[in-house]
Symmetry: C2
Subunit: 639 residues, 2 copies
């Protein structure tokens, strides 16, 4: 059994240059044209300049409601000496009506009186007044729009006006997408087996093609079999202008793409020096581009955007739309490998007068990083990583104004934060971006002014109170406000039916029970360590003490999926995944706000949402929560 | 016969507030929801937050190609003391494969050697290394996106991954558009009668609806008959969420919209204090909005954008997308009526370090102003007009980067300028915006640094040369370069067959011949005045001397359509409209460039296009042109 383990690392620009150049030389970028009816041309691109077929107006037209006259007939008219025109000396016209050759001026209806069928005029008309001349808007043979114009509502209306019924437009490139992988399913369901993966990449790439003006179709999933994949490629290659093979998730033995391209076409690149995206494959078959896209969604998105996008725009004679870039202060340090172009997706938001960038989870399998991303940070090949606080350029994927109406919450995770986000979005047009960094992480972000608010549930072991002593210590030099969001039950999350009969903390010091811990700095971790100390249990006696997850739902999911037997977490998580729950303690979960950094109306909106019927209903429905002090100001204490 | 002549002028914000408030009170803005398949949800708006239906991955998955092991089995492995794992102690896994419970770590294939079926390890594995935990990407019940999120490629892919097969989205509002007017035709053709107008507004409004996330359908054209219009309204009202009645071009007797709204619904506003857009009508029928849109295209566009757009966005729970605004220096003075909100469409471009705004033709019937517009200048009700040179805020309709790659040409009109524009666009990604202001207008614009170049053909009566003496006089203090574009024939444009036997200038001093003049400052006007002087003909003896048009094509169109008998112009215009032509003189048409204001690479591009085979072929094909000096530098003279 042979496996191909290493693949060549071609630098990004070199790979793209080679790809574009080879396609250019094969004549690929010649514009393909077609004629379409004007009414279905919206959003299409003109392949050649559009010239008016006829003038508009194509006749002398009245510009007013009034009467058409021969100007000379009205000379000398005045209030003292009105002129009375007989019915054969004037004609009633409405705006847009034809003004025949017998007349050379129009008088507004407001300036006309009628007396016994005669029109009475008290002011002379100037020749050609209120008459729109032929071609005032468009003259036949006027160029309405040059080649490569994108046809919008106004171009379309002008074409119709100029009697253009058909236009020559650029053909939309057709992209064939072939998903491959024995492990892939077309659609997710409730009874998927371990190892089965829902095939989503082809759907993402098709949607991207659509955004870039191309059409896309999807071949059915091809299992890992070189001959079947070859047949699929042969089947689509004459119908498509670009072939995309979405690899299974492995760069190893299941990857036949490069072999097939070598066999029926020309392999150009196998492996690029980017992260993510490394196993990208570029080639040509019959002078058409073929792209082998890695299986991890973020790698797939990046490779497709780096290579398919410029090819598809160029094929349509278009430049890639310019993106907005903004300078941001980096909230966290980023490590980077020298010699590789790195692309890091970030959230971005405005905090007071600065834009901050928050790097998202860099795992190539994290589709949610794509959903969350406001933009991308490109660290070029020669650069090393970036320190926290350094200024970096972010290419935005979303409108900049969104960053201006974003609230950043960094701290402990609670499911109710999602409800806040949903209600702030739908009722107040405020985006709440929440990052789980644990309660201590939240406090450090508040200290560095890198968030507007933080969710906290830090037990003070001495006083038994929550949060205040920590905030007094760490935020001694800045104003802060603490609002109670809710109280919640913490307890042991166990499998349905509690098969190991776990009823208290000390049941965990049985080495058979696989515990799953929360990360250091999380309020739940602080609580767990406190509970262990209280019971005199050594951390080392807990099987899994060093295995960490970052959210309540993540630990619950591990129990649900039997990769752990127990974890400390909130009731809501246990309930969300239909698990059993052994209550251990009730804790207070507060929001700490930095009034200097949040616009007052955003604080108002937040308080409105916290007090709203919808929020209270949704939280209560989940269970394990108490709202008895919700919305109350804990600190500063008001008399 | 009664006519409604005056209509009430409601201030813009008041009209909009009333409209939105009435709709709000009638419950119109409740979100309408529907469920759609995820695969057809691209571009739709989530009506409720989307929660993951299952975790991804939903099993512990290998993050690498390699072998799954029980970490404890590898403890102590080193180069000196390799550990050999039997086949039942490891399992080969590819990226994404399930890692069963018997294993708790993955070792990369690069770190494994095989010896007689055994896997040889030289480094111990850490528990859970290279294993993606359940829910690493998404945990069941995670909120993927809050309500009112617009679904893009990444959301779609995440939904698929989370086994969401259907989503609840906001229903697209349906807009019914009823065009009315006896003068209207569905489509333009070569044999339209005077007074007939191609109905283009409904098509423009439908395309705008599409851009705003709504659907639209069009009722067939209704002639001016109140009963028929009433029937049409009744026919569409139950199928639509908004009814739009596109009036014929008249605000007078053919306008039945308001009467009908009063009859079957509630009339709110008739007439708003905007320019254009004054005769707008707003009302409600069965709690749904009805908008009466004026017939002139620019008025229609403005009224629809001012009133339908906010209603349609709000109906979908969305904010109107924020537009980019930039500060521009106004190239021309703008008069404005106090008490009216004025909207002026402008071209905009960057000249060196300034953005300049060039007001476009303000006629409400000029559809080309909409096509050309880069943005709009809103002069508020309390404001007076603006002086040339004042700084004004332009709300952009087009991307700002377009303004940075725009060349502005102001001066004399020649058809070949359109060819330059087309070729610069398609081969060099440069937009050429050309405004016809006559040769003298061009010189004044050059003086004020308001354009990059100007097309000129100003005869110096004394020397017989062109352009140079004028430029030396007016541009004495700044560098300029003069390039010949072409020579062209000027002559008398007459009807086919020359029915009045016009053969020379003095034939025009026959009062029967209707002459059409070019505007003052146009090179052709200078030439005409020169020719009259040469022949001793008084301007007053020319019938039509004071009637002016602004382009060669416009005067030709007037002759073609028999609103004039003769005009001085270039051969190309006569030929374009299939008219006869009596040659009078050949003239030199040059481009004057301001090297300080144009990027050198744009000058290169321009010179390349002028010298290109395509340009020369297209010009030659038109006839009446000579390219014998085309592309040569006339001034400064090079030795």
């Amino acid at each position: 059994m042979e496996r191909k383990v290493y693949i060549k690392n071609t630098p990004l620009e070199q790979a793209l240059d080679l790809f574009l150049q080879e396609l250019e030389e094969s004549g690929y970028f010649t514009l393909d044209k077609e004629r379409v009816e004007v009414l279905s041309s919206l959003g299409r691109i003109l392949a050649s300049a559009a010239y008016a077929r006829r003038s508009s107006p194509h006749y002398p037209a009245s510009a007013m409601d009034g009467i058409a006259v021969w100007a000379a007939d009205t000379y000398g008219a005045s209030e003292i000496n009105p002129i009375r025109l007989d019915q054969n000396k004037y004609m009633e016209v409405d705006t847009g009506d034809y003004v025949p050759q017998d007349f050379d001026a129009v008088i507004m209806i407001e300036d006309v009186n009628y007396e016994q069928g005669k029109a009475v005029i008290i002011k002379p008309a100037v020749p050609w007044q209120h008459i729109r001349s032929v071609g005032e808007d468009l003259v036949a043979m006027d160029m309405i729009a040059p080649s490569l114009t994108s046809i919008g509502p106004y171009e379309l209306a002008s074409f119709v006006t100029a009697a253009i019924n058909e236009v020559e437009v650029v053909k939309q490139p057709i992209v064939a997408i072939i998903p491959t992988g024995t492990e892939l399913l077309d659609q997710g369901s409730d009874d998927m087996n371990p190892g089965e993966i829902v095939e989503s990449n082809s759907k993402m790439l098709m949607a991207l093609c659509h955004q870039w003006g191309a059409q896309a179709f999807r071949h059915e999933i091809v299992v890992d079999d070189q001959e079947l994949l070859l047949q699929a490629v042969k089947r689509v290659k004459d119908q498509a202008d670009m072939i995309v093979i979405c690899s299974g998730s492995s760069a190893g033995r299941e990857d036949y793409t490069s072999t097939i391209i070598e066999e029926v076409g020309q392999l150009l690149i196998h492996g690029i020096a980017t992260r993510p995206g490394k196993p990208a494959i570029l080639g040509m078959i019959d002078g058409k581009p073929v792209i082998g896209v890695p299986g991890y969604p973020i790698s797939a998105q990046l490779v497709f955007t780096l290579f398919a996008r410029p090819v598809l725009y160029k094929k349509q004679g278009q430049q890639i739309p310019a993106a907005t870039s903004i300078d941001c202060r980096l909230a966290r340090k980023i490590a980077s490998t020298m010699g590789v172009d790195e692309f890091i997706y970030v959230n971005a938001a405005r905090i007071k007068d600065n834009y901050l960038a928050y790097p998202l989870n860099r795992g190539a399998g994290i589709t949610t990083s794509l959903v969350k991303a406001d933009g991308v940070l490109h660290i070029e090949r020669g650069q090393e990583g970036l320190e926290a606080g350094s200024i970096c350029q972010i290419v935005l994927h979303k409108p900049q104004e969104l960053l201006d109406r974003t609230l950043v919450s960094i701290g402990s995770h609670d499911l109710s934060i999602d409800f806040l986000a949903d209600l702030l979005q739908s009722h107040h047009n405020i985006r709440l971006v929440s990052t789980n960094a644990g309660s201590m992480g939240g406090i450090f972000s508040l200290m560095r002014s890198e968030c507007h608010l933080a969710g906290l549930h830090l037990l003070d072991e001495e006083s038994g109170d929550y949060n205040i002593s920590y905030l007094k210590k760490y935020l001694a030099n800045q104003p802060w406000v603490l609002i109670n969001l809710l109280h919640r039950e913490q307890g042991l999350i166990v499998k349905k039916g509690n098969p190991f009969s776990i009823n208290e903390i000390k049941d965990l010091s049985d080495n058979k029970i696989r515990y799953l811990n929360r990360q250091q700095g999380a309020g739940t971790r602080v609580l767990f360590d406190y509970l262990l100390g209280q019971h005199g249990i050594s951390p080392e006696s807990i099987n899994g003490y060093h295995r960490e997850e970052y959210t309540h739902l993540a630990v619950a999911a591990a129990v649900k999926n039997d990769t752990a037997d127990c974890a400390l977490g909130v009731f809501a998580s246990a309930r969300a995944l239909d698990l059993d729950f052994v209550p251990i303690a009730e804790e207070r979960y507060d929001l700490c706000l930095l009034p200097d950094l949040i616009k007052p109306q955003y604080v108002d909106s937040l308080m409105q949402v916290i007090g709203s019927r919808q929020f209270r209903q949704r939280v209560s429905k989940f269970g394990g929560y108490s709202l008895r002090n919700s919305g109350e100001t804990i600190y500063p204490v008001t008399s």
